[in-house]
Amino acid sequence: MAASIAPECNEVKEKYDTCFLKWYSEKYLRGNTKSTDCDELFAKYKTCLQKSLKEKGLDTMLDEARKSGSETDAEFLKKS
């Protein structure tokens, strides 16, 4: 799996990515969209990452991109 932009988060990211991939292929793609196997790991990874994004000034950059990207939600977050 690819590394994190924040080296201090790599360990927890690796654990989360492995968990996610297993959940995705074994549960999600088989119709089990309700399970929350990796939520705890993701919360830990996110806490670690947020700190680094803030330090690098990337949090504000992301917020702006998110605003201008909201139209894709309207297009792709519906039943096709």
């Binding site: 799996m1 932009i5 292929s25 969209t33």
Partner: protein
């Protein structure tokens, strides 16, 4: 604005492709060494549709010519924001990405779609890619055109490398999944 688009087919099922897609930029992909970081920022399942929405931050170390750096400033590290949507019922992955770095000079919007191919939907997957590139720097149209053309050319080269790299990831994923299955079968039998 210039548009770059390409279509190709991978000889793997949509399930395999959509799973391997999450590790497209892993160390197995020796054609994507410029990608130095892939971070998941948010991930939710839409309760109404079951669509998985993911936001990622992709960090690259591009080999940028020195004159570009001195002209526009900044560093060789660039960031891309990607939102993706997986619709497991329709078997469709859509990924939309946009550049965060140099966004005041150049706007690159890429949309990638993975769907089962029409010819053999259970064993092969179609990949469609479209990028809209717009130079924003004020001034001469001629310069804007040059910047856009150079970017499209860059995209074309990267698309080819991207395809080759992803083929390797798909092959490795199939092998590793196969080995895991074998191990589990042995464990079950003993």
């Amino acid at each position: 604005m210039k548009v770059f688009s390409s279509i190709c087919t991978f000889d793997y099922s949509w399930d395999e492709v959509s799973t391997a897609n999450w590790r497209k930029y892993c160390p197995w992909n020796d054609k994507a060494t410029h990608v130095v970081g892939v971070d998941t920022i948010s991930r939710v399942i839409d309760s109404k549709t079951g669509i998985l929405r993911t936001e990622r931050l992709i960090t690259c170390n591009q080999s940028v010519p020195q004159w570009v750096l001195s002209l526009f400033g900044g560093s060789a590290t660039s960031h891309v924001y990607e939102v993706s949507y997986v619709d497991p019922a329709a078997k469709k992955v859509t990924m939309c990405s946009t550049n965060l770095t140099w966004s005041n000079v150049l706007n690159v919007r890429e949309t990638v779609v993975y769907q089962p191919s029409t010819i053999s939907p259970s064993t092969s997957t179609q990949f469609e890619q479209e990028a809209k590139i717009t130079a924003l720097c004020g001034g001469w149209q001629k310069i804007k055109n040059k910047v856009e053309e150079a970017s499209v050319e860059r995209f074309r080269e990267n698309a080819k490398r991207g395809r080759e790299g992803f083929e390797t990831v798909l092959e490795m994923s199939r092998r590793v999944f196969g080995e895991q299955r074998d191990l589990e079968n042995i464990r079950l039998q003993s």
